[in-house]
Amino acid sequence: MRLDPHTTQRLVKALLWTLTGFTLLILVFIIADIAVKGLPQVTPGFLSQDSTDMGRAGGIFPTIVATAYITLLAILLASPLGVGTAIYLTEYTREGWATRLIRFGSECLAGVPSIILGLFGFVLFVMKLGFGWSVLSGGLTLAIMVLPIIIRTSEEAIKAVPQDYRTACYSLGMSQWQTVTRIVLPSALPGITTGIMLSIGRSLGETAVLLFTAGAALRTPVSLFDSGRTMAVHFYILAREGISMPNAYGTAAVLVISILAINVGAYTLMQRLMKRYS
């Protein structure tokens, strides 16, 4: 039995839309469940109090500090490396074996699964270099994880700067570095910032890497060598050990909201910066 093409199309469209609707339902369900069960937990007290009784009671303040501390360190390390790489690739070299090698390194790095990064961070930073489970070990490993993201987005942003700007600068007797720092980078800033914020969003959700490098201490970390538990790691432990459902939901809510806020912030920041610089 052969169906005429229009019937086939109608059937197929129905099928496709059903599957799509189903997919969207899943997403809505996930967000809704976290929101309904988690948001009520997110009180100012929850955010500012220390965790007690292994996380059964109290708030998640130490994890918020640990998350901020480790993420900040990772970004501070990865940004100069990533933006510097992007500048080198676009402004200082032609396409050749060197650029291909660097890009290959970056793409492969992007594909390394987080557990392998965790293993690496564990053997190099925690053990061999003796940093122990610490903010430092976590930040260093996380920096390696987000480096490819920053390289890729920065390179795109820098390439998008019109070549005319560079031509004008060089013909006025500006040096290459002057041109890069005064004209190219400021124009590429919106894209670079977006890349950094995407990296932050990615870091917030990362668990496998940090569990084995930053550890899981429930105290508020103060020095770089203190161990600390990020929100994602805390959530994982609460959920897996079955310690506290309400607190798990609450932590999940804070996590998802933070990531949402960062992603939304990244795009609005990009719009605002683009208006300012062009």
């Binding site: 005319d164 700007y165 031509t167 013909s171 006025l172 040096s175 002057q178 005064r182 004209i183």
Partner: protein, 255 residues
Amino acid sequence: MNDQPPNKIRIEDLSFFYGDFQALDGVTFGIRANEIFGLMGPAKSGKSTLLRVLNRMCDLIPGIKVTGRVRLDDEDILAPDCDLVGLRRRVGLVLSRPTPLPRSIFENLALAPRLAGKKSRGELADLVEASLQAARLWDEVKDRLADSALKLSGGQQQRLCLARTLAMEPEVILLDEPTSGLDPISTAKIEETLLQLKNQYTIVLVSNNTKQIARATDRVAFLLMSQIIEIGETKRVFTVPKDKRTDDYISGRFG
């Protein structure tokens, strides 16, 4: 040797290759100080390439090969140890398409001089005003120097680019079809400016527009397919050209 004025720029046996394609073949001539020298010829004859060699902006293109010598005053600017930044401050370039930087009008003019050493606000402000005056743009923008340069019209932007080059206080100004695509009034303003600037600068003007060459230049070289066919006083070349090809080009038999 007759008592000719000294050459500001002396080009000796210059050949230029984009990969395998030869754009210039053994070009040799001189440009005198304080004249407006025109380079004319049909598309792809090598005029823009020649211009870009004069301030080594050709270096930005990958895969090129240059042989020969180009002397600015007495130093060979094709030498590998030539200071490119210094060269480009002495030899400015205005392109066929305006290239304003995404900054205010004031910043467009002040940025490069500031990096070249002029630090005081007073000096920079005077320099900006003088350059804009010379380019005949001052009256139109004097009240809005803080506005973005991107908001100016095409003709204003191009005059801005000329003012920007003047602000570097160069010795030579190169212009590559600077008025193509501009309205007649902007074109006239730029040509007037060039005629006035001649006294202080050496000017090299590339143009596809033979009438502009006839109007605005003192001497002219006709380039065709990588070679110089004829060179001489503009009035003479346009009235009694020595080469038939020059005559054909000027009369518009090809372009």
